[in-house]
Symmetry: C2
Subunit: 231 residues, 2 copies
Amino acid sequence: MSNKNVFLKKYFLMTRSEENYLKTIFHLGGGDSKSITTNAIAEQMETKPSSVTDMAKKLSEKGLVDYVRYQGVSLTAVGVKTALSIIRKHRLWEVFLVKKLDFTWDEVHEVAEQLEHIKSEKLVDKIDELLDFPKYDPHGDPIPTKDGKFQERDEKLLSEMPINSQGVCVGVKDSSVPFLKFLDKNRIALGNTIKVLDKEDFDNSLRIQMDGKEMRISHQIAANLYVKKND
Amino acid sequence: MSNKNVFLKKYFLMTRSEENYLKTIFHLGGGDSKSITTNAIAEQMETKPSSVTDMAKKLSEKGLVDYVRYQGVSLTAVGVKTALSIIRKHRLWEVFLVKKLDFTWDEVHEVAEQLEHIKSEKLVDKIDELLDFPKYDPHGDPIPTKDGKFQERDEKLLSEMPINSQGVCVGVKDSSVPFLKFLDKNRIALGNTIKVLDKEDFDNSLRIQMDGKEMRISHQIAANLYVKKND
DNA sequence: AATTAAATTTAGACAAATCTAAAAATAGAT
DNA sequence: ATCTATTTTTAGATTTGTCTAAATTTAATT
Ligand SMILES: [Mn+2]
Ligand SMILES: [Mn+2]
Ligand SMILES: [Mn+2]
Ligand SMILES: [Mn+2]
């Protein structure tokens, strides 16, 4: 390989593994100059702390993270930007799979984990355009704009809503396949209007009214559903 | 990694590199139990013969190629099937990029080289459906069906057409970016009707009529355009 | 302040995919 | 049949990303 290409490789081209580390660090809060520990990253990525240390050095070398031995890593400005561009791709692909190819919301994550690493700026932008610039992914997570800005939304967990308040279900905190399938089975979907009728002190379960129908849901469910409060 | 996963990895999961080797061997004719030489593969893939030897052993171990030392490799039945599934994905993605995202035919190959390695049977099938089961890619290359069958087409090179015969331009033999851009510049596109008016003995150039307009093209151009003869 | 437990890093190993240089086999030409 | 040029393989090294086991640092507890 030529000298120029070695330079390009070292400073611009991201490997899939590097991209996954950046994404994980961001999701753990490392975008706000908060230090994320080696163990936390290892656990999240189902890898070993020693592997994380190796990668921390490499990403630090590339100027993508700040790394202090024994103290953990946080993302630099460039690191944040890079992480956001991967998250943007991931979420846009998820929307594409649901809206254009009839995937269900519990099927998209695994495929998006692969598609997010495709390198083509034009491709992402065109997918964005094809989808009419969506602001949220199928799980209600915000899609960063091209210049890395997030859509903020005034939302709270259903479990924290007061009795008699109501709102629209806009997202899930847990987006694991079992939880999403559970929601499908119980006809709980994003966009549904939910009113809190009553709370049970004993087990923190909720009695709710959803699109006319009444039902009881456990605290664990309510603590994983985001609701946008009606004005 | 568990024992079962090691087994799965060894016998079912293909790496990107393995997939690229299979594809190349197929394109060099290794699908018809013809032996492809180490050097030919190395040249095509811009790698070194020693690397090809290593991979030949690995693919042989996995039952995807027949490999005889010093004699080259050919694809097994499983190898052909695997190669075709990758080629199918590549060409379907190329169609998708052109038809749905307004990519030009000289832009799609590079991105398809990445997309062809995405692992999701449902994704390919749904893309196929979205495109209404196309039979040819943007360069006129046939798209293998799900069960690995090719659409044959009665086509010949424009350079081999007799004087006064005519047909429809259906494909390119050379699909390099410069050639495709040259065709665009000269308004030569798939679907155009071409009639051979005259051939020049001196340089083998052709005088043709294309959609009404007359023009002269060199032998090199004519030898890289596929034409479907009118009945 | 010293001890101990937990987190983190280092050292050394390994698999995948590649390379260079040297050795071996094949094929072509006398 | 022998020589020779070419092709192909082997041997050994390198890079990336991972692991285990041992050493080190930090944090918590007495
Ligand atoms: Mn996801
Ligand atoms: Mn999502
Ligand atoms: Mn192509
Ligand atoms: Mn093509």
